[in-house]
């Protein structure tokens, strides 16, 4: 933190109070934050204390090769609201998508922020740098984006990789990756990076990660791939509300068929839920309105490394020998992620078998009953 009192950054609580937010609303906010992070009520005072005493953290948000879906997702956040994050929780000092100035005036902001908050700002990266053509497939200020990324990373306190682009490369890095688009951990090798994958990540997951860091002044617990455990430690399949249909062997066989209309499992039409680690089936999207499976399409696995190159989104996942259904995220992450395997197929087959057995039992019971009646 800066040493002189004049440079002291306002605390989150001070800002909220200054903006006319009551103590009561502030505590309510802390409760919501605790809930969003999956923490118990015991954590509320802790969050409140942190908010009251911790200064607002400057954030530099860089854009490389990307499609801006991460920023768009971020502003959809319902708790906390994006405007409260931007105006009150953090100090978004540099973000080319939202900032007022351009050109030299914008470049000056970047220089100032780095100089003033050396070692104290969070770097958030959306997109990734291409390395081919001397980096000039993505130019910023007349120079390769990768140079800017490395420069800003050097003095950052912590680095967040937003989305599949920064974390894994995403669509522009799909085969044959013509620009050699490269995930940021391959060009920033001397700092820990928090990966928040997904194309895009869920809004409340993004703000949840930032809130966690601001609140507890530490990185969240991460898995071996660098993903926050709180949101990425379980598969979509593990907590999918259609899981009972999978277990019962009830599947959508084709689009808009009877099974589709009854909300059966989408495994046979390519759902990648069994191999995808994300919070979609629990946190859901856009303030809980739905998630892909609930709206009738299988998961395409967008938070997994290399999900673009694992065959068609409609191919049934088949080869699961590497990961048992109960395998943890680290083990799956170590294997070539994305493809589900035989275990799921076997799992499905078992479910179908069980269903057939039950049906048979049911039929024989019915027959028995009919006999007795007769």
């Amino acid at each position: 933190m800066p040493d002189t009192p004049n440079d002291r950054i306002e605390t989150f609580y001070e800002v909220m109070r200054a903006q006319g937010i009551s103590r009561r609303s502030f505590m309510k906010y802390c409760t919501l934050t605790a809930t969003a992070l999956g923490l118990g009520p015991a954590f509320v005072p802790k969050i409140a204390h942190a908010m009251e005493t911790k200064p607002r953290t400057p954030v530099i948000w860089l854009h490389g090769l990307e499609c801006t879906c991460c920023s768009e997702s971020f502003i959809r956040s319902g708790h906390p609201l994006a405007k409260d994050v931007i105006l009150s929780m953090i100090s978004l000092d540099y973000d080319e998508l939202l900032m007022a100035p351009s050109g030299l005036a914008a470049q000056a902001v970047l220089e100032e922020t780095i100089a003033k908050y050396k070692g104290n700002y969070i770097l958030a990266v959306e997109g990734n740098p291409p390395l081919n053509e001397d980096g000039m497939f993505c130019i910023s200020g007349g120079k390769p984006f990768v140079d800017k990324l490395k420069r800003v990373a050097k003095d950052a306190k912590a680095i967040i990789a937003w989305g599949a682009c920064a974390s894994y490369g995403c669509v522009q890095a799909a085969s044959p990756n013509p620009t050699q688009a490269t995930p940021i951990h391959k060009v920033i090798t001397d700092k820990p990076i928090i990966k928040v994958p997904g194309c895009p990540p869920i809004a409340e997951v993004m703000t949840g990660v930032i809130t966690y860091m601001v609140t507890f002044d530490r990185m969240p617990a991460l898995d071996r791939q660098g993903r926050p455990l709180m949101f990425y430690s379980q598969r979509i399949h593990d907590k999918c509300y259609r899981r009972p249909h999978f277990d019962a062997g009830q599947f959508v066989e084709n689009w808009d068929d009877e099974g589709a209309r009854k909300g059966y499992c989408l495994y046979k039409v390519g759902c990648k839920g069994p191999t995808t680690y994300n919070a979609c089936s629990t946190v859901r999207w856009n303030e809980g309105v739905s998630f892909p499976i609930q709206s009738g399409h299988g998961c395409i696995g967008c938070s997994e490394d290399g999900f673009w190159d694992q065959g068609s989104f409609y191919d049934r996942v088949t080869d699961i020998t590497k990961f048992g259904v109960e395998a943890n995220a680290d083990r799956v992450g170590l294997a070539a992620a994305g493809v589900v395997g035989g275990a799921v197929a076997a799992h499905a087959a078992l479910s179908a078998l069980r269903r057939a057995q039950q049906k048979a039992v049911g039929q024989s019971n019915a027959a028995k009953a009919a006999k007795e009646e007769a």
């Binding site: 502003i75 956040s77 351009s102 007349g142 808009d256 209309r261 739905s290």
Partner: protein, 596 residues
């Protein structure tokens, strides 16, 4: 001094000013201008500074997956590339989608227009007209009166409400941490609003940030998430089940009610906030009618929002199709995306080569080979560009032309085409606005006109969104719950070779995808997107594109503070991730500098 064939006097003798990065846009862009001694722009050079190569990546993939790849071209206009893609595949394979799928797709596409236009106006564009720092000087009571005058129906209008927002703003500014507002050009005389209008508009910046969250939920209902909802070749992935077993896993009454409530919110915001704001702000800038560029000369629209499924004939589209050239509004030419003579792309000033100069290629036959070289008069080095040489190659954007003409696309182009065709809704809206503001028709051809057309379109799309929702409900009432056609889902049913084209009107303008399918795989894929048209570099003949044309002859209050440049560039809502990617026609190996 040099006159371009499309009528602009280019003079680069004055001082050169470089703007890089251009902020508050999607993607990466650079702009260089020359200003004369009076600070008037006499030469403009716009450069796309990124390339992702998505069409190269699409080659050899399953055409049914293409929507997901192309959707990731842009997360701001999320969904429109996906829709264009499924249309291209369906066109190639002769797949007819059900009526409900057409209604749901239209609702999603219209919803995107509204969402995108609102976010663009308030969060990417407003700061070119509105000065949030000046809002601190506003009298909340007078602001309340202004609000009630411009929009009596908007409930958030009390003096206390504006005082609260102003206090929040005040503390924010006083904290010294200005965040996104830092280093804005806040004392530049180009800002013309009185403090009360600044406070009202800044307040709506925050209201719109809340509102857009709600608007996007239509995509979540039908597509499972936003950004990047899911789509399906042959229809839509969401089934309909109104009252049967398992209806909670489908579009049911609760889902329809949620959609309906969001549709109402869109209409309300357009009527009570967006349109009144554009009129109020526009009135203070009514004499600043620069930035028209190509809009009075050459406009292109493919049309969109088909009334009935599978019928893309011009007369059946709610958003108009047509081309206007040479400033002749009395004649609207029909547009055929299959005609090899109409849409062509050129690369003479782009960082690609076709092997010979002046060659134009139709998207079905396009080739791209990267050639990143700076011209002899460029300043700096290839990895530290100080000044570009626009006489040579200078952009990652290609130069598309319609029958050889550089064209403007987007809301203003759609409205000019619609107006010229006598489209009733569009004509009513435009005439009404001009009457309200007491401005002549010529005022439409300006930066302000572009911004106003976007607002009018958002309002029109709001009504259409409701229309197609009602149509969907009526169709369900009549017993049709069909949402997908799976007859040709299996690639075994496809012909050995096929080609197709999909078209939409993306929020930023005419969008086309051209696909060739061979043996069940993508043989060739090309997107020609709105910002490729608008941000086009020059062609061999020297015709300048829409961005460059719109900047010409604009006077600047302070040339080193590019408020006017940003205002006009932003009025197009540039999307650089969309504009800068090319395709591959054959199987050549990709190398560092050679992309085929």
């Amino acid at each position: 001094m040099l006159e371009t064939p499309n009528g602009y006097m280019m003079d680069k003798s004055g001082r050169r000013i470089v703007i890089d990065p251009v902020t508050r846009i999607e993607g990466h862009m650079r702009c260089e201008i020359n200003v004369d001694e009076d600070g008037v722009i006499r030469n403009a050079v716009s450069t796309g500074t990124m390339w992702r190569g998505l069409e190269v990546i699409l080659k050899g993939r399953d055409p049914r997956d293409a929507w997901a790849f192309t959707e990731r071209i842009c997360g701001v206009c999320t969904g429109t590339h996906a829709l264009t893609s499924v249309r291209a595949v369906e066109d190639a394979l002769g797949i007819a989608i059900p009526e409900n799928a057409n209604s749901i797709r239209n609702i999603m596409q219209l919803n995107l227009q509204i969402h995108d236009h609102i976010v663009h106006f308030y969060h990417l564009h407003a700061l070119d007209w509105v000065n949030p720092v000046n809002a601190l000087r506003a009298d909340p009571k007078a602001t309340s009166e202004l609000q009630q005058m411009v929009s009596p129906a908007h409930p958030l209008s009390s003096p206390g409400y504006f005082r609260d927002v102003q206090n929040r703003l005040k503390k924010f500014v006083e904290s010294g941490q200005l965040g996104i507002f830092k280093n804005g050009y806040w004392d530049n005389p180009a800002y013309r609003l009185p403090p009360e209008a600044d406070l009202m508009a800044t307040t709506h910046y925050l209201e719109a940030l809340d509102l857009q969250r709600e608007v996007a939920k239509i995509h979540t209902i039908f597509g499972g998430k936003n950004p990047h909802p899911n789509w399906l070749v042959g229809g839509v992935p969401c089934p309909i089940n109104m009252d049967g077993v398992g209806a909670t896993g489908a579009i049911n009454m609760e889902r329809l009610n949620l959609a309906s409530s969001i549709i109402d919110k869109c209409i309300e915001f357009n009527n009570n906030v967006y349109i009144p704001d554009v009129i109020a702000i526009g009135n203070f800038y009514r004499t600043w009618l620069h930035g028209g560029g190509l809009s009075s000369q050459a406009c292109l629209a493919y049309g969109d929002i088909p009334e009935n499924a599978n019928d893309f004939s011009a007369g059946q589209l709610h958003l108009p199709r047509g081309a206007i050239i040479n400033g002749d509004l009395s004649q609207v030419h029909d547009v055929d995306p299959r005609d090899p003579e109409q849409v062509q792309e050129f690369v003479d000033h782009s960082w690609y080569t076709y092997g010979q100069p002046g060659r134009g290629l139709h998207p079905w036959d396009g080739i791209s080979e990267a050639q990143y070289v700076l011209g002899p008069n460029a300043k700096g080095t290839r990895t530290d560009i100080k000044e570009l040489d626009e006489a040579a190659k200078y952009s990652w954007i290609k130069a598309p032309r319609w029958r050889g003409h550089a064209m403007e696309v987007g809301p203003l182009a759609r409205y000019v085409v619609g107006y010229a065709k006598g489209h009733e809704d569009i004509k009513d809206q435009v005439d009404g606005l001009l009457r309200t503001m007491n401005l002549p028709l010529e005022a439409v051809f300006s930066t302000l006109g572009r911004t106003a057309a976007r607002a009018l379109e958002s309002e029109y799309c709001g009504r259409l969104q409701k229309y197609f929702f009602d149509k969907l409900v009526a169709n369900i009432r009549n017993g049709d719950t069909h949402t997908a056609n799976v007859e040709k889902w299996d690639p075994k049913t496809w012909p050995k070779e096929a080609k197709g084209v999909g078209m939409t009107e993306a929020p930023r303008g005419a969008l086309g995808h051209w696909i060739r399918i061979k043996d069940g795989r993508i043989e060739n894929y090309q997107c020609v997107v709105p910002t490729t048209w608008n941000g086009s570099p020059r062609d061999l003949q020297g015709n300048i594109g829409a961005f460059e044309a719109s900047l010409m002859n604009t006077p600047m209050e302070r040339p080193d503070e590019p408020v006017e440049v940003l205002r006009t560039l932003h009025s197009f809502d540039p999307c650089l991730a969309c504009s800068t990617h090319v395709m591959s026609p054959d199987g050549d190996e990709l190398t560092t500098v050679r992309v085929r």
